[in-house]
Structures are given as structure tokens and as C-alpha cells.
């Protein structure tokens, strides 16, 4: 049995799946307003109700997680906003790494590689954007000035497009890209079971693996 390393604790995984699930529902119900041919699905406005239920989940899940996991939250947020030359290194190596599967080309990555960090930052920022613009539309639809509501729609839509595109990338990189396989020991497993194989940890997050192998306290995320 190959040695395994814990990457994500249960609370984090629950938050991820609830938030991701909510996002997926939000994305799909929002897509109906984006693709006219799907418009019929929104006819009886059930999708608007579902969108709001998912939105509530989207807001409440992190609100519950944060006070109960404030250390991890702080660490995570700090990570999201820490950018430096290492990230440039990732960027330079990314085409060879992701297209040509050239693992040697990629410099050692930390708990999150720069790509993951980028997605994480996007999630934090755009969640905020979605929540603010969405809540304004939800609560103040009948009272806010039309111009304000129009801007809310526009920004919400831009956020949808950007996060939507990145959402495809995130899913792809999590479960489809050859370098993140196999599912049982790779990226999927990190969020599904919380663990990855040591081999995976070593090859994908060498910097982090080196720290925890030295016996430093495992940074639970």
C-alpha cells in the first residue's frame, strides 16, 4: 500500500463540495438566461427559485466554515494574495508542463501550485462579486434605480463568464488532465478522500511535501 498524505481536512472538503455544488447549480440556472434556446426551462420561474436556494447555500456554507476554521481560513486567504517570483516560474513552465506533460520543466510547487492559487483567488474575489451583485438584484429589484440594476446584471454576467471559463478549466485539470491522474491517488482524491499518494504529493507539490516530510506540523487545510 502506497503511503498517503492528507491534503484537505474534512471540513474543507465539505465546504468545497457544498460550494462547488451550489456553484454548479448557480451556473446551470444562470446559463438558462445566457442561452436563449434553454429559456423555456425558466418558464415557470422554478429555476429562479432554485438559483436563490443555491445562492443561499453559496453564502451560508462559507459563513459557517469560517468561524469554525478561522486558522485555515486566514492561512488560505493569505496564500491567495501571496504572489512572487515563484509564480512567474510556474507561468514560464506551464505550457510545457500542461501541454507536453513535461514534469521536469515545472519548478517545485507549494501546497497550491500557482494555477490553483490563481483559481482560489478568483473564487474568493468573484464569490464576493457574485454575492454583492446578486443580493442587490435579489433584494432591491423593485426599489433600486434601473441604472444600478443594469450594472449589477452586467457585472454578474462578466463574473459568470470569467468564472465559467475557469470552472471548465478547474474541472478539467482536476479529473481529466493526464498529469493529475489517477483519480484514486491524484487531484480528485485530494478533495474526494482528502488524501493523495505520497508519490503524487512529491511530484506535484514538492516544496510542501519536503516541509511535511521533515516532520514540521502538517499544515492542515
Amino acid at each position: 500500500m502506497e503511503q498517503e498524505v492528507e491534503r484537505y481536512r474534512k471540513p474543507t472538503r465539505i465546504l468545497h463540495w457544498v460550494h462547488a455544488g451550489a456553484f454548479t447549480i448557480l451556473f446551470l440556472t444562470g446559463l438558462i438566461l445566457f442561452i436563449p434556446a434553454l429559456g423555456f426551462l425558466a418558464q415557470d420561474s422554478w429555476t429562479r427559485l432554485i438559483h436563490r436556494i443555491a445562492a443561499a447555500l453559496f453564502i451560508i456554507a462559507p459563513l459557517i466554515y469560517i468561524p469554525l476554521n478561522w486558522k485555515a481560513t486566514l492561512r488560505g486567504v493569505k496564500d491567495a494574495f501571496s504572489w512572487g517570483m515563484d509564480d512567474v516560474g510556474w507561468l514560464m513552465a506551464a505550457p510545457r508542463y500542461y501541454f507536453l506533460a513535461d514534469e521536469e520543466a515545472m519548478p517545485p510547487q507549494d501546497h497550491m501550485n500557482s494555477g490553483q492559487k490563481m483559481w482560489w483567488l478568483l473564487v474568493i474575489v468573484f464569490s464576493g462579486v457574485f454575492i454583492i451583485t446578486g443580493l442587490i438584484m435579489w433584494a432591491f429589484k423593485t426599489v433600486a434605480p434601473a441604472a444600478l440594476l443594469e450594472w449589477m446584471v452586467l457585472i454578474h454576467d462578466i463574473a459568470f463568464i470569467v468564472t465559467g471559463a475557469m470552472f471548465f478549466v478547474h474541472i478539467y485539470l482536476s479529473v481529466i488532465h493526464p498529469l493529475m491522474r489517477p483519480l484514486r491517488t491524484g487531484a480528485w482524491s485530494s478533495m474526494a478522500r482528502g488524501k493523495v499518494s505520497a508519490h503524487y504529493a512529491c511530484s506535484h507539490h514538492a516544496k510542501w511535501y519536503e516541509r511535511i516530510s521533515k516532520g514540521e506540523e502538517i499544515e492542515h487545510q
Binding site: 438566461l33 445566457f34 429562479r48 507536453l100 434601473a146 443594469e150 478539467y172
Partner: protein
């Protein structure tokens, strides 16, 4: 042009509100009593004006506006109708995500209430602030409504070759229905007559606005005096949303998926190529 319009002459209109009642009666819209109602039963409050109800609503598609003005001691009481203007360059049609709002063959803006998702983008976009929706603020379930130019399904007067209910009712002949060219010409003529009478600000509203409205107003004063927006435009945000963001979104999403597909093919190939020499070497290592 096959387009048909309503010509509304504000100088003939006496604000009797026969049109307001006829619209409700024909389209089977209820009275809308804004809260709070007092204990005297079906009662709305007077707010010191003849203008009741005070606003359009999902059940009030047409109402009259009353404006008192006074210039040099001369009092005027201006009447104008407030309802969907049925624009050619309609912001609501542009903003509507799923084609619920669309242009009728005669040029009016009609809508399919069944497909309306209640998103309310039409309300936000309309430069005349016309559509209104019923809305459950909690669930978000909503439907928008506005003047259908009497093309309401099941109650479609236009399809039967009839004029809209408001036009039919109008006692002082302030409303007419007919071909756009003919009625624009008639409107121009009336404006000229008004100017000759001394109404130097007389104006034909709707001839050019938003590429032409399908409700044209003969005014004896400026549009501002009548509470109408001067040079109304489709909001920039609506244009950005529909004409820019949507295509960009499609492009980005499409390119992303394409890119990812391409990436998969290339990366898998590359990984296989990399593993083949390793596989060849493995047996050697195992031997070690």
C-alpha cells in the same frame, strides 16, 4: 413599410381615461389597489392628484399623466399617456435573455408571457421605465407585463384587423391607429398647424426616437414639459451586455473548451510518449 402605429394627439386628449379603463377591460386586468388600503373596503388613497393609480403596474398597462404648469400667470394642464412606446430599437427586446420580448410584424413590441422568466432586465433597460412585474421577493418568481398593443394572446385585436381597445374608445378622437407613414404625415401636419397657432415648441415625438416609436405623440410643447425623455437611448449597459459581453462570453467559453480538448489530446500523447521509454526501462530497473 408594413408598420402600424398609434398616433396620440395630446392637444385633443381630455384625459377622460376611457383608454385606461378600456385597456383593463379588454385585457382582463384587475384594478390594482396599492397598499395600504384603509378600512373602507376596496379603497386606495387619494394622493392629491387625478393621476390614479400613481404608477404603471402589472395590471395597469396604460395610464394618463396630469401635469400642471404655470408660465407668466398662464396655467396649463398637460395630459399625456404613459404606456409602452413600442420602440423600433427596443431596449427591452435587446435585454431580454430568451427572446420573450420580440417585434411583431407590424413593428410593435409583443411578448410571450409563458416564456418570461421574470428576470426583470427589460424593466431595468427600458428608457421610458414601462414594464412592471409581479414578483415574489423571496423566491424570485416573477412575470413582467406591459402594453401588448392589443396583441395579447387570445385577445388579439390586431390579428382580427381591429384597432387597439384604447383607440376604439377614445371619445375626443385623440387616438388613431393605422399605417406608420400615413400617421407620421398626419402628425407632422398637426404639428405644423400648432406652430402656426403660436405653439412654437410643438413637436412630433416618436418619429425618430429609438429609430422610431410605434406610439407617436403630437405635442404642443417640448417633450420635457410632458415628462417624456428627450432623445431616449438604449442604455449602454444593455448594449454592452447583449452586444459585447454575450459574444465575448461565448467566445471565451468556446475557446476554453476547445483549448482544453486540444490540451487533452496533446498532453495525453505527450504522456504516453514519455511513459514508453520508461516502460522500456522499467523491466531493466526491476531486474535491478
Amino acid at each position: 413599410m408594413a408598420d402600424k402605429v398609434i398616433l396620440y394627439d395630446a392637444t385633443r386628449c381630455t384625459a377622460c381615461r376611457g383608454c385606461q379603463a378600456a385597456c383593463k377591460q379588454w385585457n382582463e386586468n384587475d384594478e390594482y389597489i396599492p397598499p395600504p388600503s384603509d378600512q373602507r373596503g376596496v379603497q386606495a388613497k387619494s394622493h392629491g392628484s387625478y393621476e390614479n393609480p400613481p404608477d404603471l403596474s402589472p395590471q395597469t398597462w396604460l395610464k394618463m399623466r396630469f401635469t400642471e404648469t404655470e408660465n407668466n400667470g398662464k396655467v396649463r394642464w398637460l395630459f399625456t399617456r404613459q404606456a409602452c412606446m413600442h420602440c423600433t430599437d427596443a431596449a427591452c427586446v435587446k435585454a431580454c435573455p430568451n427572446g420573450t420580448l420580440y417585434h411583431h410584424e407590424f413593428g410593435f413590441v409583443a411578448y410571450n408571457k409563458d416564456t418570461c422568466t421574470g428576470c426583470g432586465y427589460c424593466i431595468d433597460a427600458c428608457p421610458f421605465n414601462v414594464p412592471r412585474s409581479t414578483r415574489n421577493l423571496f423566491t424570485g418568481i416573477a412575470k413582467a407585463d406591459k402594453c401588448t398593443f392589443c396583441t395579447t394572446p387570445g385577445l388579439d385585436r390586431i390579428a382580427e384587423g381591429l384597432e387597439p381597445a384604447c383607440v376604439k374608445t377614445c371619445p375626443p378622437k385623440a387616438l388613431q391607429y393605422g399605417d406608420r407613414d400615413a400617421l407620421v404625415a398626419e402628425g407632422r401636419k398637426r404639428v405644423q398647424t400648432l406652430v402656426a397657432k403660436g405653439y412654437t415648441n410643438a413637436y412630433l415625438y416618436g418619429e425618430h426616437e429609438l429609430d422610431g416609436l410605434h406610439v407617436i405623440y403630437v405635442l404642443d410643447d417640448t417633450p420635457e414639459a410632458y415628462g417624456l425623455p428627450v432623445d431616449p437611448k438604449v442604455p449602454a449597459t444593455t448594449i454592452a451586455w447583449k452586444d459585447v459581453i454575450q459574444p465575448v462570453g461565448w467566445a471565451l467559453g468556446g475557446l476554453t473548451i476547445l483549448g482544453l480538448g486540444l490540451n487533452f489530446l496533446i498532453a495525453r500523447e505527450s504522456k504516453i510518449k514519455k511513459e514508453q521509454p520508461a516502460k522500456k526501462e522499467e523491466p531493466a530497473e526491476k531486474e535491478k
